[in-house]
Amino acid sequence: MKLPSGVSRAQLFEYLLRLGDERLVLGHRLSERCGHAPILEEDLALANLALDLLGQAEALLELAGQVEDAGRDADALAYFRDAIDFRNPLLVELPRGDFGFTMARQFLLDVYSHLHYTQLCESRFQPLADRAAKALQEIRYHLRHSRQWMLRLGGGTDESNARAQRALDEMWRFTDELFAVDGVEAELAGAGVAVNRSSLRPDWDSQVAEVLEEAGLRVPSDEHAVEGGLQGRHTEHLGHMLAEMQILARSHPGASW
């Protein structure tokens, strides 16, 4: 695969892992809701969203494998890496919690993904821009879905409002990481390949605040930020999740059905 000029293979691989792992882990967390959503219709909706995310993850990890050029495909990267090698932000690996938590996380990430992938479509690395454009269509619908749910959870009953607020308060300290840019991404952003995610923050802040206000929910106050997922320092939750996600592929390597 031809890499864009002035870009290191290792850095681009690292970056694609971050993008792909974010989709993969979030998608898996969402898939855990299958059979556990409050109503049948929402069960189908969440399973659809999870499948979209897994599809996005597959496309990005496939590309990562091609860039790495070491013979690893999307499956090898998804199922045969350990937690320390995953590069997702911590927010996506937190347990699914109650429905309020699942949906609040989805909403915060949908707003973020919408901004992120809108810019990613402009990447100078065309295979990445193409994948981003395809994902963006799906993300638009995801955002519509989770936005509507936030309005209803916030504006529903005291119970639903309290649960949505508690979820936001609990996860807020993990949101800074979505906009944290280290050396790897700064260089790739400079080369026009990556998105400088710190630039998404003002729009994210205002779009999230607008919906929360309409929903009768508070924007949580800034807590001490927790980061590290992008560098492979994860919460204890990721290892447990991967054990479940990877056991089949590891027990029966190369199996197909």
Binding site: I39, L40, E41, E42, L44, A45, N48, Y141, R144, H145, Q148, R152
Partner: protein
């Protein structure tokens, strides 16, 4: 608004879903969903009946807004048509080259 309390499977109203498979085609009844309001009904309909690209347009209608004939009407409503052949436009010769959509 009345609720059927004999089978309280949900607190949300029922909506009937109509799917238009392609532009210009009629919207056809696909099934129903439960939802608290119109926007969520539309989203649920999308996820249940149009997630594999089956539709270019969706309608949702509150089930209670649909006026339906009742089973007792079956005789007086529909039966008299059976023996009135003149109501069926079957006496015209149609050129074979004509195609019906």
């Amino acid at each position: 608004m009345t609720h059927d309390t004999s089978s309280p499977d949900t607190q949300w109203p029922l909506w009937e879903v109509f799917v238009q498979p392609k532009s210009g085609a009629p919207h056809e009844h696909a099934g129903s969903v439960h939802a608290p309001d119109a926007e969520m009904a539309l989203q649920n309909a999308r996820d249940v009946y149009a997630r594999r690209g089956e539709a270019v347009s969706l309608w949702v209608v509150k089930a209670e807004q649909i006026v339906a004939s009742s089973p007792e009407d079956r005789g007086p409503f529909f039966d008299p048509a059976r023996d009135k052949v003149y109501r069926h436009p079957s006496f015209y010769r149609v050129d074979r080259s004509l195609k019906f959509e």
